[in-house]
Symmetry: C2
Subunit: 97 residues, 2 copies
């Protein structure tokens, strides 16, 4: 199945369900910053996400500085935000609460 970029209405609906995520119109991507108690907690979170991402064959762009994790989601094959990003964002939200 080809994955396609969300249209404007689909994107608006998806974003309304992802209030913790900031939309970047320049990249057609979404971003969330998370902070944890310390590095070990941040990396434990990253490991959970890595396994989810690998299973879904859809990977985040992310960075980590000690207790902080910055995550950007977009779909290169779709040239923008797709349902895969929405699903991964929802999974991340459900883990961090």
């Amino acid at each position: 199945m080809t994955i396609r970029r969300l249209d404007e209405a689909e994107r608006a609906e998806a974003l309304s369900g992802l209030p913790e995520w900031r939309y970047d119109p320049g990249r057609d991507a979404i971003h969330r910053r998370l902070t944890f108690l310390d590095f070990a907690a941040a990396f434990a979170f990253m490991t959970r996400i890595a396994i989810l991402a690998e299973k879904a064959d859809h990977h985040p762009e992310w960075s980590n500085v000690w207790n902080r994790v910055d995550i950007t989601l977009t779909t290169h094959d779709a040239d923008g935000l797709s349902q895969r990003d929405v699903a991964l964002a929802q999974a991340i939200d459900s883990i961090v609460g």
Copy 2:
């Protein structure tokens, strides 16, 4: 023990032993980009480094996009490059070969 920033001579000597690392004078930091076969290989590497870093209580600033890992090392407490960064860079080099 207080950790201190390397002086110019110490830094020059350290960098001569770290040819894979690029020195950033603006931040007094070093950077290396690594690419792996795929995301799973990249994250496996990150996990090894995370454990090393936690053990040494000295953590990288790093980002990952699929098979690529970008690592920046500097020591906030020393306001620049310290022996801890050199040790972590050497450990990373010894893992990736």
